[in-house]
């Protein structure tokens, strides 16, 4: 580590919305006349807005990326996170020279290889072997290089038997594995990866993540990695960068940044679930309300780490039913942490037609799970058949406290479950 490997210097990328086609000739001529002949400022560059796609803007142009400035050091593994359309892929596309920036400069040192999508340029009629050579050369390898790595590639992809069969006869999984394998054996100084891990079966994903880790840690390579999988980002990266609507809004230690990102996506959940406006037609029984009642804080949703909590589910039925109810707690990466189900303790609730009941659920203290934000899904079932289900019915925060009596620790490296414990030495 030390030297800067990649430098983004006020980089921006402008895209034109709407149809590119009709009227573009006059449009282009106007633009050319204004900038090249009259030496005016480009009339379209000024009107660009940030890329908030949900709201209709006044301009036909948007900035997919705006004024992005950051440095990446040699050997650093940087995760780029952000919602769909935040500009992550555009950023990687600029770096891998698929398209060029509208403003600013990108500087880099060393060979750049991008894994924007695996299996790029496979030709169905050609055999696996021929395609390894084809794909490898597209990615910038020489034939001698590929020859040297051929055995490793074939072995990693696990396609020995099919290597002289045309790729069109491959299963889609095999194609993807072969594509990833070719790319994984590239030797660039800078590797750009976009969501390749979203493909393949579980075994191959594990293999792929393992390979990525090898590449980035032991071989000291600079890696830019885009993914929506926060687990993979945490595992692979040292540093995180958050993009939002084309702007860089966060940069720092990967744990911190991922937490911040999840926090901001939580805001949407936090607004709570609107029981009043949902359509319950056709449901035999349904929820009319949910609340966490023993919490502290303004919204009653802050829970002490060493305490338990109570919640209330309001259920209404249209006909006479026997139901079971479930409350499930998820963390912000959607891992199920806890679930409380009346069926598990043999409890069945009877509702007669039109009846409304309030169910109380008491969760015993202590919780002892990592402080942070959690969300709650609730559901009711009749003999296992789902009657009503609400995702994100509420959210709560578990408060940090001095668990071991030795001061607080930073929440980023706290494990999910904490227990009091003792150590002895002999």
């Amino acid at each position: 580590m030390g030297d800067v490997a990649i430098q983004f210097d006020h980089v921006g990328k402008l895209y034109r919305l709407g149809l590119v086609g009709t009227g573009t000739l006059s449009h282009d001529l106007n633009r050319w006349w204004q900038t090249k002949v009259l030496h005016h400022e480009d009339p379209y560059l000024k009107v660009g807005e940030t890329n908030d796609r949900a709201h209709k803007g006044n301009s036909d142009y948007v900035w997919a990326l705006k004024d992005i400035t950051f440095d990446v050091k040699e050997g650093e593994v940087v995760g780029i996170i952000g919602k769909n359309g935040a500009g992550k892929s555009t950023l990687l596309k600029l770096l891998s020279r698929v398209t060029s920036p509208t403003t600013g400069t990108i500087r880099a040192r060393g060979r750049i290889a991008s894994l924007l999508e695996v299996g790029t340029g496979f030709h169905g009629e050609m055999t696996g072997r021929e395609n390894i050579f084809m794909n490898g050369s597209i990615l910038g390898m020489t034939r001698a290089e590929i020859n040297r790595k051929l055995d490793d590639i074939v072995e990693f992809a696990g396609v020995e038997r099919y290597i002289d069969t045309p790729v069109k006869r491959y299963s889609s999984g095999m194609t993807v594995r072969l594509g990833f394998a070719v790319a994984a054996f590239l030797d660039p100084e800078i590797l750009v990866v976009d969501e390749v891990l979203a493909v393949g079966d579980a075994e191959f994903q594990k293999k792929a993540i393992g390979k990525m880790q090898d590449v980035s840690s032991s071989e000291g390579r600079t890696v830019l990695f885009v993914s929506h999988n926060m687990g993979a980002i945490r595992n692979l990266c040292h540093r995180g960068i958050i993009l939002e609507d084309g702007c860089l809004v966060g940069d720092g230690d990967v744990y911190e940044v991922v937490d911040r990102y999840l926090e901001s996506s939580r805001q949407a959940v936090r607004e709570g679930f609107d029981f009043g406006s949902r359509d319950v037609n056709g449901k035999k029984a349904y929820f009319e309300g949910f609340s966490i009642i023993s919490g502290k804080g303004d919204e009653g949703n802050v829970i002490s780490f060493s305490k338990g909590f109570d919640c209330e589910l309001v259920v209404r039925s249209r006909s006479s039913v026997n139901i079971t109810a479930r409350v499930a707690v998820f963390d912000l990466s959607d891992n199920r942490i806890m679930a409380f189900d009346t069926a598990d303790i043999g409890e069945i609730i009877h509702l007669s037609a039109g009846e409304r009941k309030t169910l109380h659920c008491h969760v015993e203290e202590p919780l002892f799970i990592r402080p942070g934000h959690y969300k709650v899904n609730i559901s009711i079932r009749q003999g296992g058949y789902l009657l009503d289900h609400i995702v994100g019915a509420a959210s709560f925060e578990i408060e940090e406290e001095d668990f071991y009596g030795f001061g607080r620790f930073s929440s980023s490296d706290m494990p999910l479950v904490l227990r009091h414990h003792t150590w002895t030495t002999e």
């Binding site: 590119v20 596309k93 050609m126 084809m134």
Partner: protein, 280 residues
């Protein structure tokens, strides 16, 4: 900070800034593209590489029937098979190079959107693979030629045949420059694609392929001479068949035309290459 950056990406780049070094570095990709073009032609076919011969043979026979037989167009005393075959061979080379180059962007949109490599590799590879195909067809031409020499037909080769490599290069570069322009413009203005399809067909009739230049009356001769391909076809027939004409002025005109076109096409291609993915 004065650093030894190996790559600087800026919004604008020089008009004639061709990445020749990059093309050389990707020479293996060039080779792979050529190999792909040739190998995949006869995959899963029974006749395999014979297809390289079948098309020109049948076309020649058909031309002999329609233009030589029905229409009775002169071939300047050259045996019809040789006359048509030479024209078809060269024209195929030109038109396939042109098509290859003009599909650069549209046929490779998928790959270009994912990875960077010097885009010029694709049309250059298409020139090369078509050259290989043409050289294979040249064997056919040679075989027919030898047949006529053996039976003592009216054919004679002369020193102008040495121009052959130059003529092929000129055809290739003409095709490349037109192809690049079309490719660059169609990436944004799709209309051109339709124009090009039948335009190329019409252009074939404006080139002395199925008729000798001498058969065009004085009224139209000037128009044919404006066509920069005319001197190339004429020089080939002059060198190998002893018919046609060798016009140095014509060849120089053709070369200058080619150089100017190539210059502009590279400029246009360069501009489009950078932001092609946003407009396709």
């Amino acid at each position: 900070m004065a650093k030894d950056w190996t790559l600087v990406i800026k919004p604008e780049k020089g008009l004639l800034d061709i990445d020749l070094k990059g093309i050389w570095r990707y020479r293996d990709l060039w080779y792979m593209y050529v190999r792909r073009d040739i190998v995949t032609v006869y995959k899963q076919t029974i006749l395999g590489p014979l297809w390289f011969f079948i098309q020109p043979i049948f076309t020649t026979v058909m031309y002999m029937f329609v233009f030589g037989g029905l229409a009775g167009i002169s071939t300047d005393g050259v045996p019809q098979p040789l006359f048509y075959l030479s024209g078809i061979m060269l024209w195929n080379y030109f038109s396939e190079c042109f098509n290859g180059a003009s599909n650069t962007f549209s046929a490779n949109a998928g790959i270009f959107g994912k990875v960077y490599f010097p885009r010029l590799v694709v049309p250059l590879a298409s020139l090369t693979s078509n050259l290989v195909k043409m050289l294979i067809q040249l064997l056919l031409f040679a075989a027919v030629y030898v047949y006529y020499v053996v039976i003592g037909g009216p054919v004679s080769i002369n020193a102008a045949a040495l121009l052959f490599p130059v003529l092929v290069l000129m055809l290739a570069l003409h095709a490349l420059s037109w192809g690049l322009v079309v490719s660059s413009l169609t990436s944004k203005y799709r209309d051109l694609r339709y124009l090009v399809g039948f335009g190329l067909q019409l252009f074939m009739y404006a080139t002395p392929i199925i008729y000798p230049l001498s058969a065009a009356g004085d009224k139209f001769r000037w128009a044919l001479e404006l066509n920069p391909l005319t001197p190339i076809f004429e020089a080939f027939k002059y060198g190998f068949l002893g018919a046609g004409s060798l016009s140095w002025n014509g060849l120089i005109y053709s070369a200058v035309f080619m150089a100017v076109m190539l210059f502009f096409s590279v400029i246009i291609f360069n501009r489009v290459e950078r932001n092609f993915m946003d407009t396709v």
